[in-house]
Amino acid sequence: MDILRIGDGSTARYAADVVGAKAANLARVASLGLPVPPAFVLPIELCAAIVSGDQRAKQELTDGLHKGVAFLEGITGKRFGDPRQPLLVSVRSGAARSMPGMLDTVLDVGCTLPAVHGLVRMTGHPRFAWDCRRRFLESYGTVVLGIDAAAFSQRLAHVVAAEGVSGEAALDSETVERLAGDFQNVIEDDDIVVSEDPMEQLETAAQSVYRSWMSERACTYRRLEHLEDLRGTAVAVQAMVFGNRGLTSGSGVAFSRDPSTGAAQPVIDVLFESQGEDVVSGGRTPETEQAIGRSLPAVAARLRETLTLLEREFADVQDVEFTIEDGKLWILQTRPAKRTPQAALRFAIDFVNEGLITPAQALARVGGLDVAKLNRRRLVDVPEPATQGTGASTGIAVGRAAFDSQSAQRLAGAGDPIILVRPDTSTADVAGFAVAAGILTAVGGRTAHAALVARQMGKPCIVGCMALRVDVASHSARIGESKINEGDWLSLDGEAGTIYLGRGHIVVERPDAALAQIERWRGTAH
């Protein structure tokens, strides 16, 4: 079995149905000379065999991982699990078609205790080193060992409260070190010992990522998106670059144009001193492009140039994951952006006008759009907004509040539209998204994976609504003094990000000019 190597100077291109769309795109990005952390990829063909427990496939996986790690060690000058110059890797999924956030990723693999010592030696930054360790334990514990993520988040919440700080980003280095110890205890409380052998960590992580193909949410997503023909996921192992390295480091997601409204302006979310999962998991509310421009103007300019370059290379609006490590920009992933139907229509027209695609290509892209979903809807007869969040997917939604996926499915059965109200923006709620008319979350950014899914489904979505306090256990929420109970009516404007208490009325407007343009292309084509 051959592994694909990325970052060795090769300009070869690969088929997405062999190595996954993520790896195929990343190899293409690297061939453009853009900074991509080196990586190797185990192919999709292994997925079914690993899932079925085939021993020969497991041996092929082991052999591939050893070859790949040797490649990464050679190109980075670091060694896996080393106490002096440690190499840490991420283990990522990648199917032939993008399934954002539905498959598993394990980060900071190789972060053994000797490696923590090595990270301190390399950087002189103990907080960063222990932050990598606690992230590894959480990621490996939940994905590979199957420990409930809530056990880790409860320990974190306890420590944050005990230290009297605003959140995990404000924890000092001694506390983060202690938190890493707490996370290890969480795992050992289940009578499990995390291996300190980095290759064993890597093998088990790769197997888990392959097996995540059959997870409930992945199967649900494939069913909803009619992706049942896909054969499995590839596994990409990539040298870690660290957005949590210091003040001039961060992680983010950038869209080359607004995937919600279709506006020809990039949408960029970033969290400084963080790793990528912090942004896409929807568990924290990120900052915008202005924050990069303030502290790292050269990086902000480089990111804009990169977005333009990638958009032209792929002839489509791109969704790019990036990391800034000590002021240097790295591209971790690019893929076509999930978009609302309205945005899809506008992109098609703008791309033709800018000469990036032909009218025939534009027609192919908009051919499957549901014309009913292209109508612009406005809210009328509503009071002043109760509060505002960040509009992540345009459109108007009016419905009854539900606070988890099960309740949403139950209430939807009664025939009324549903607004799914959640504390964070998580892909675990995909079944609830499917039955909801709109989605509202307290924490998370426009670029969280779950926001992508909402856009793809064409559901109005508002994220990062800071005034919203959700109590899932009691099936209620508060906005200031107002209490929202299960079944109460809410109205959302996904473009403005405004939330209204009560049942608004919807006025529908057709995008006649844009539809006329499409008809003119059709006329020319015939």
Binding site: R84, H117, G124, H125, R127, D172, S173, E177, S295
Partner: protein, 240 residues
């Protein structure tokens, strides 16, 4: 020794084994104590980075919660004091190398100076002239670099007994960076003093800015002392 003798080994062989075990044990104790020193330095870095961020925000004319910075530094100092007391107790309990105790003391004094600097920073006037902020940023940058070199150096020193030259080389390189950081902080502090003496600043600005620069510069002095101790430790390890 009894085990080695029962296995038919010589007394000399048994003694060698005991000595080897003893050395390993002492190395483990020293590694554990040096990990505590790294923990202290990690906290020092947090304060230094906080002050550097404050100066950067001042330069960009953006608001900054300076009271929160002073409170954070105070909380870190209290935590670091407890860590230092525990470290001294452990050193006494294991009768460990007293040089490590001096490293603990240096790290503690570094944190004290930085906490003082954070307190002074909280009293600075809201508007400070750019020609003062520039050397203040330089002295902060030197302090951050110093704490990072100290943590790297202490971690490398813990590995020196393993006998690889890269460990002693890395430790001595970190010592060099510590001395360099102290020189840079000294130059920046003098630039602050010269600017104040040569300019027309009100009393509060002159006093608070000078006090801030001096407190941070004293922290880098402590870190330079920390570097000398690291070097002594490396040389002692290499000579055994």
């Amino acid at each position: 020794m009894r085990g080695a003798l029962l296995e038919g080994g010589s007394v000399r062989l048994a003694r060698d084994r005991i000595e080897t075990e003893l050395v390993r044990h002492l190395q483990r104790v020293d590694s554990m104590l040096l990990a505590i020193v790294v923990r202290q330095i990690g906290l020092a870095r947090e304060i230094a980075v906080g002050i550097a961020s404050f100066i950067a925000e001042q330069q960009a004319h953006r608001p900054f919660d300076r009271a929160a910075l002073a409170a954070l530094a105070r909380r870190i100092e209290e935590k670091a004091d407890k860590i230092a007391v525990d470290a001294r107790n452990e050193i006494a309990r294991f009768d460990a190398d007293r040089l490590i105790e001096r490293l603990v003391n240096c790290a503690e004094q570094t944190i004290d100076e930085l906490e003082q600097a954070a307190f002074v920073a909280s009293l600075l006037p809201s508007e400070i002239a750019p020609e003062l902020l520039r050397p203040l940023a330089d002295v902060c940058s030197a302090a951050v670099a110093g704490t990072e070199a100290a943590a790297s150096g202490a971690a490398a020193v813990a590995d020196v007994p393993e006998g690889l030259s890269v460990d002693s080389e890395d430790a001595l390189a970190a010592v060099g960076r510590l001395i360099e950081a102290e020189h840079k902080a000294d130059a920046a502090e003098r630039a602050v003093a010269a600017t104040i003496m040569g300019g027309e600043f009100d009393f509060k600005t002159a006093l608070s800015v000078l006090e801030l620069a001096r407190a941070i510069e004293r922290a880098t002095d402590q870190l330079a002392g920390f570097g000398h101790l690291l070097r002594a430790r490396v040389l002692a390890d290499l000579s055994t």
